[in-house]
Symmetry: C2
Amino acid sequence: MTHVKVTSVDVAKRAGVSQSAVSRVYTPGASVSEKTAAKVRKAAAELGYRPNVLARSLITGRSRMIGLVVSYLENYFYPEALEKLSNALQAEGYHVLIFMAQQTSDNVEAVLEEILDYQVDGIVTASVAMSSELAARCQAAGTPVVLFNRSQDDERLSAVTSDNVAGGRKLAEFLAAGGHRRIGYIAGWEGASTQRDRESGFRAGLKDAGLALSAREVGDFDHGKAREAARRMFRRDDRPEAVFVANDHMAFAVMDVLRGELGLRVPGDVSVVGYDDVPPASWPAYDLTTVRQSANRMVAETVDILLDQIADRIAPPRRIAIDGPLIVRSSARVPEGWAA
Amino acid sequence: MTHVKVTSVDVAKRAGVSQSAVSRVYTPGASVSEKTAAKVRKAAAELGYRPNVLARSLITGRSRMIGLVVSYLENYFYPEALEKLSNALQAEGYHVLIFMAQQTSDNVEAVLEEILDYQVDGIVTASVAMSSELAARCQAAGTPVVLFNRSQDDERLSAVTSDNVAGGRKLAEFLAAGGHRRIGYIAGWEGASTQRDRESGFRAGLKDAGLALSAREVGDFDHGKAREAARRMFRRDDRPEAVFVANDHMAFAVMDVLRGELGLRVPGDVSVVGYDDVPPASWPAYDLTTVRQSANRMVAETVDILLDQIADRIAPPRRIAIDGPLIVRSSARVPEGWAA
DNA sequence: CTGAAAGCGCTTACAG
DNA sequence: CTGAAAGCGCTTACAG
């Protein structure tokens, strides 16, 4: 059975109406009589006709696709966000076209050009560093961009993050209240705003408590590098009594090293806290104290901004930082009076 | 700055050539003189022109998009597969359009119709149950389909899986060699071929060793349900000495219940084995003995089949089951003579 | 409400 | 190698 593509012309012929009439039946809000619509639907069903979205895009200038640029899915915050983003957009009649990009910026540039070639109606960049010029170029091309889980100083760019500064501060207050004095920090990739904001909030919180970082290592948001960072930090005699690891993904690696390699108890010997509250953080093997970064709320804001800007090209950019609660679990000593 | 869309006509005018010439410069293999190409490229650069992929698709009948249907990314095998699939396709000039689908089959049907509307060049369905008629309908529409990590009895459908029967058998041999006698199984979703094949291979392996399942519960590939299944199975007096949990994702939940809630040691009191070898399986907190299901190899085969069928519409369907090694770790007692 | 016509931005025989 | 013309499958003023 060789398949022959069914077009609106075929349907029009069979239904005995014009091609325009067929089109109107599939255009919400267009004026067609119920009688005509019925004839068209019947013919369409008999022929197995479905409108060609690509041909429609050419006319309407709307592809109903959103480009998503993402660099790695190993941090389980991203699969969760991707799933929710895709679902939310699907509910609005949009679909996600994926572009994997390495962190290097010329790679991102090439990838973005490709995205624009597909005439996407909007772009979400997650866990990717993008120059302001590049983002501005997309906006100029009429394609709204939302930075997801990254912010940039450029006021023209929309960005959705959690309130990383506030989150870092909460963790500092929590550890200080727990009586810890020697406190370490294992940083994420220094190019990321999430890394910088979490650290600055954490440092500010420590400072307010009369404390300062006693040790700092860099884990680049990478599981393997975080293990190495933990070894460097905790093999020293003056090892910290507590450590904030810049995201949960790295915190799991750090806990594994502390317990498995160095024979340290968590939280008996070392309190560990993370950031994100990805699913494994609540698994008993880790039971990690962390700050919740709500994929749900971040996705909802992202979709909101995107749809606004698609509907109204001069809608102003928005910068959202969503506050998330501290989730107290057993990986860190719980101060008196804090509910576990 | 209001953006005006730059078309091939604009470039043609500025370069002083025909629209056809512009098109040929961007069509690999078309015949253009170097002189013309240079003029066109110069004009294009000055205007910021890039070909509209959608308009091209309308003519060529190729969108260079592959639709991916996936139902959940909580099992970390899927984000890994998605990342690799997207990278592999990108390298071939294709991009992935994502469709999230619930397991219910009429939902899958609606989603597939949408996919076809986007004129994708091929479809990959992962972790999704699809009726044979539905898949056949896509093939008939000229769109090749590859079932990823699911197989179906229908010979007309291409499918890529690991060799789940062989994997199940290896785990049975391993546990039997370890001297275990009372052996349990926690099943995945019964509608999945992976579940059925892993179980039948496991049962066959036990039988060959003169053993049979002593307990069986269903976890539906769900973290929460797996925890409940573990509670039911291990609160009994005649609890198994070893258990095969149908995938790693559930095995983590089972280990958490055994150690955290029931105070059982792994592998001291119970040996646990899983299937997939997702990243957390090698994290020390679990260190799970499992069978490797290679996302790399499965993706490579999937892309291979897809490109073949796109290039040659009458290419026969292929059914691939990739054998993966048993990965011995500390979550299960290691028999004499088996390398850990 | 309806149809004929123009056109979205490209590619591709065809003729030169 | 190059250009004029037709056409991919739709939508959308326009006129009736």
